[in-house]
Subunit: 105 residues, 2 copies
C-alpha cells in the first residue's frame, strides 16, 4: 500500500460518523445494510449519509450493490486488512520485537 492510499483510508475512518458506519457494517457481515438503515441507526439525514458513504467507497473501505431501490453497503475486509498491515509494518519498522504483540492475531 502506498502512502497516499493509506492517508486516504485513514482520512475516511478519521470521522466519528464514518468510523461508526464502518463498525456497524463490520458487525452486519457480508450481507451488509441499506444506506437508509444506517442513516436511521445513526440519526444522520440521507444527504449526509450519502456523503459519508461516498467517502468510504472512494477509499474502498466499503462495497455497495444495488438491490431494487435499495443500495446495500458492506465492509471491505480486504482493504481494511491492507491498512492494518501497512500500519503494523510501519509501527514495527521491520523489528517485530519493538511492538507489543497484537490481540486477535
Amino acid at each position: 500500500m502506498k502512502i497516499n492510499v493509506a492517508v486516504a483510508a485513514l482520512a475516511a475512518l478519521a470521522q466519528e460518523s464514518r468510523l461508526a458506519i464502518f463498525r456497524i457494517l463490520v458487525q452486519a457481515g457480508k450481507e451488509g445494510l441499506a444506506a437508509g438503515v444506517l442513516g436511521d441507526q445513526l440519526g444522520v439525514p440521507p444527504a449526509t449519509m450519502s456523503f459519508h458513504l461516498k467517502t468510504l467507497s472512494h477509499a474502498k473501505l466499503v462495497k455497495s450493490r444495488t438491490e431494487g431501490r435499495y443500495v446495500i453497503y458492506s465492509a471491505n475486509y480486504t482493504e481494511m486488512d491492507k491498512l492494518i498491515a501497512y500500519l503494523t509494518e510501519h509501527c514495527c519498522a521491520g523489528d517485530t520485537t519493538q511492538c507489543a504483540p497484537l490481540k486477535n492475531c
Copy 2:
C-alpha cells in the same frame, strides 16, 4: 480505546506530512529526532512542522523531551499498538476467521 480517541489518532495520521513524520520517527527508534531534523528531511518550514508535531502529540502518537535547545520527538509505539488493536478488533468483529491473518504477527 474509545471511538473518539481512535478518531483523533486516525485523524493525526491521515495527513501525508504527519504520516511521513511518524514513519521517520519509527525508523529513528527510541532516541528519536529533533524537530528541526524532521523539518529538514521533509522540507517543511518550522511553523508548519510544529503544527503537525503538536497534532501528533495531542493524539499521543509521539512523545517529546527537551534536550537543551532541541526538542526531541519519538514514536509512541504503545499508542500505535492500541490503535492497531482497535482497528483489528473492529475489523474482525470478534470473528478472527473473517480477516486474513496479519503480516508481522
